[in-house]
Amino acid sequence: MVQSAKPAQPIWCPGCGDFGVLATIKRAAAGLSIPTHDFVLVGGIGCSGSIHNFMDVNGIHAVHGRLLAQAVGVKLANPSLTVVAAGGDGDGYAIGMGHFIHAFKKNVSILYIVMNNETYGLTKGQASPTSEIGFEGNVEPPFMSILTALSIPAPNFIARTFSGDPKGMLAVLTEALKFNREGRGFAFVEDLSPCVTYNDTYKLWREKVLDVSTLAGYDPTDRKAMFRLCLETTESGRIPVGVMHRPKVAGRDGLEVKLVGDGPGPVRTDIGLETNLPAYHKLLAGLS
């Protein structure tokens, strides 16, 4: 056995919600028997983004806000890899917002986990895009990621979990990874992951979370119904959790399927000159 990078010790504060995500990703991956060398974890910048250091998988620590672009690049280059991007709410919804919206449109079969703690923890507690009005002087209404996700008409998997409910999270992450590995497209999971130091919301969120699947009219294949359900739940002061969107048809829908089909993808395509010489000669013969 070759000795390779060993997982480092997490840098998180004791009790941080991110521990729940780390443990659950590991369990979900193990449950699906994903070989660790085929698993790539792309980390953002912030406390949560260091998660790739703590797992015995391939890891790439991206630039702040750009983890989705890098993760999409990894997956399109080698569709046989299982690719998870994981970062915080500042990383994804502030500096990375452009890539966030486009990830739904691109519909590449990667899983994006946003560990939302409604604050910038690593820089010591500033307001984030999801902070409530009044938090650290915040005067802007909080960003609603699930509603935004539901507003983009693409066949994505969309869900929200809570670090206080590891069992629920395991079911969602397992389904999301399966969704990806079947090449069906982009999976987005927002995890409510409290920052015990700057915004300890365990107790509050435990009281407020509401499993949408228990509500009348719950149908995750019906985007319109789910938008209404999530909006009404939020407006009533509760936080909707669970699977918010699950595309109707279980076909292969991911962008990488459309781009490379059953081909091996750019990384595993033979780029040798001799193999490709007839094609190159033909290409160059077209010049006049």
Binding site: M1, V2, Q3, S4, A5, K6, A8, T36, H37, D38, V40, V42, S50, H52, N53, D56, V57, N58, G59, I60, H61, A62, V63, G65, R66, A69, Q70, A71, V72, G73, V74, K75, L76, A77, N78, S80, L81, G98, H99, I101, H102, L259, V260, G263, G265, P266, V267, T269, I271, G272, L273, N276, L277, A279, Y280, H281, L283, L284, L287, S288
Partner: protein, 597 residues
């Protein structure tokens, strides 16, 4: 007599009345076609270019367009010469004007023997040596659509140049055969209308004659197309880009070329995404490239810096235009060099390669891919608007020279034999072996944080010092492997010329003119512009008494790099600069070069 015909004046110092005037033979001809966007100026340039190429001439075409889809003044130039050329001619021999603005803008560049053919449908001019034809009315009346006026103008030009009627038609057939049917038929009719009118106009027929050349079995291409093809044959299989003038064609060509070869091309949401997508794909093990221009490059500097510390190979083609900000998006400049040499936050190694012509673009793109993987760092291909978009007669690209060097890339078999795998292992040349994700038994742990050999985040100062040296010294270790300079002119010449990129075209032409003037020069074309190839430029500068660094920017960016690298040559260096958005014309360089006694 039509008012237009009355404006034709006989050429001075030509044969007197009664005897036929012999045509003026041109072995280097320049035709400028100007009008409103949508007038079809590019078509006229294309048709003439095709004809000239059939005569074995070297052709160089350029466009002057506005950053808008239709309308506004636009012009196209075609130059054809018996000698290899890669520059706009200083004087226009024939100006074709579809509007008055074209005359106003073009007549300053008109040669003393120059001639103007214009569409007199909407305006008249009082220039000597001009002929007005109501092209739009003529073709509008008989073909029902004035849009064929450009082909009628081509017909008139064919008479002016005494072109072979059958070959003139042949060019139209070749150009429009794919559209066939009505389009071909109407263009052929428009050609005849233009020819007939010109033959009837005194002083037009055979006014000029065009020499033949020996440039056969060549191609007409652009730097952007050459970069796209070089990327394909160099094994590039992943490309992400965002549309930006004058780089967009690279994205467009690759959208055609790559998918059939198993490659992936994505148009990203912005340049932040395109650079990070290629970083992800390169980490995964693909050969990658993105292309952009100044404003996009500014956005990419964050990601390129990341690739620098994370040691991820990426190739970035920067097609420079007039900046800063939106500047003049369709105009020419070489003003990103300083930015690129210092690009990003913090310090990391990078190579900047500057091709001069399409063949160079093709070859250096392959080199860039090899160097990026061999040294695991960002490599920038530095183009400029003229190189990216002007078409030039070029030798065919040579596949026999292409080789793929993946550096210290580890196969799964090689990895299986290792005792350990450190993604950032120290090595004498600074390059660690790399195995991408998916390799059984190991994990690729890559980060933009400072890291130890395993890829773990590290704040250890000893490690930081060693890692910085490991990365930065790649620029020293790689020196002998970087594309070498090219030298032109006698080694004994005491006047040196230095340039890079498409400026080579006008410089080489200026060199010939200077030779005629009695000033022999030696020209150094830098193909690696950063790190400065001191080992090549220092000996060159020692041999000359003075060296002119010729570039398209205000501050002398390459000259500054040379002064910084070789302060001992400071007194010998002079700058010849142009920053009006247009490319050098050879005489402009000649005028600035002083001889030495």
């Amino acid at each position: 007599m039509s008012p237009a015909a009355a404006q034709i004046a006989p050429l001075p110092d030509q044969s007197g009345p009664g005897s036929p005037r012999p045509p003026l033979e041109l072995n280097d001809v320049s035709v400028m076609i100007g009008g409103q966007g949508g007038d079809g100026t590019l078509t006229v340039s294309d048709l003439l270019g095709r004809y000239f190429r059939k005569k074995g001439l070297y052709v160089y075409t350029s466009r002057n367009v506005l950053s808008r889809i239709r309308g506004g003044h636009a012009d196209a130039s075609v130059r054809a010469s018996q000698d290899p050329i890669a520059a706009v001619k200083s004087q226009v021999d024939v100006l074709v004007a579809f509007d008055n603005e074209a005359v106003e803008m073009g007549k300053a560049e008109l040669a003393p023997h120059g001639f103007i053919i214009y569409d007199s449908t909407t305006f008249h001019i009082a220039e000597p040596h001009s002929a007005g034809f109501p092209f739009a009315t003529m073709v509008g009346g008989s073909l029902g659509q004035p849009i064929f006026k450009n082909t009628a103008a081509y017909g008139a030009l064919s008479v002016l140049f005494g072109l072979d009627p059958a070959q003139t038609r042949g060019v139209i057939e070749e150009r429009f055969k794919r559209r066939g049917g009505e389009a071909l038929d109407k263009n052929l009719k428009a050609l005849e209308i233009g020819r007939k009118a010109a033959l009837a106009m005194p002083g037009v027929e055979n006014r000029f004659s065009i020499a033949s050349g020996d440039a056969h079995n060549m191609i007409l291409t652009t730097g952007n197309q050459a970069v796209a093809l070089g990327f394909v044959v160099g094994g590039g299989r992943f490309f992400a880009g965002y549309p930006i003038t004058p780089a967009t064609e690279i994205l467009e060509y690759l959208q055609r070329y790559l998918p059939p070869l198993g490659g992936v091309v994505r148009q990203a949401e912005d340049e932040l995404a395109s650079i990070n997508m290629v970083i992800g794909a390169s980490y995964a093990g693909a050969r990658v490239m993105t292309s952009t221009s100044g404003p996009g490059l500014a956005l990419m500097s964050e990601g390129i810096s990341h690739a620098g510390i994370a040691e991820i190979p990426v190739v970035i083609a920067d097609c420079q235009r007039v900046g800063p900000s939106t500047g003049q998006p369709t105009r020419h400049e070489q003003s990103d060099l300083s930015h690129l040499a210092n690009l990003g936050h913090g310090e990391y190694p990078r190579f900047i390669l500057a091709p001069a012509d399409p063949v160079d673009c093709f070859d250096l793109t392959v080199d860039a891919l090899n160097l990026a993987e061999r040294w695991r760092l960002p490599v920038i291909l530095l183009l400029d608007q003229a190189l990216s978009q002007n078409t030039a007669t070029s030798p065919r690209f040579d596949l026999s020279k292409v080789r793929i060097d993946r550096g210290k890339r580890l196969t799964p078999e090689a990895v299986a034999k290792l005792a350990h795998y450190k993604v950032y292992e120290f090595a004498s040349d600074g390059v660690s072996a790399y195995a991408p994700p998916g390799t059984p038994g190991i994990w690729a742990e890559v980060t933009g944080n400072e890291h130890d050999e395993w890829g773990h985040v590290s704040v250890n100062s000893t490690n930081r010092y060693r890692m910085m040296k490991k990365r930065m010294e790649k620029m020293v270790h790689a020196r002998a492997e970087l594309p070498p300079c090219r030298f032109y002119g006698p080694p004994t010449a005491k006047v040196g010329l230095i340039g890079f990129g498409s400026t080579s075209g006008p410089i080489l032409e200026a060199q010939r003119l200077l030779e005629h003037r009695g000033t022999p020069t030696r020209y150094l074309q830098a193909r690696t512009v950063f790190p400065v190839p001191v080992h090549e430029i220092d000996p060159f500068l020692k041999e000359v008494e003075v060296a002119y660094i010729i570039e398209h920017n205000y501050t002398g960016q390459f000259a500054r790099l040379l002064r910084e690298a070789m302060p001992w040559h400071h007194a010998k260096l002079r700058s010849i600069l142009k920053y009006d958005g247009l490319t050098f014309r050879a005489p402009q360089i000649v005028a600035e070069v002083k001889g030495v006694s």
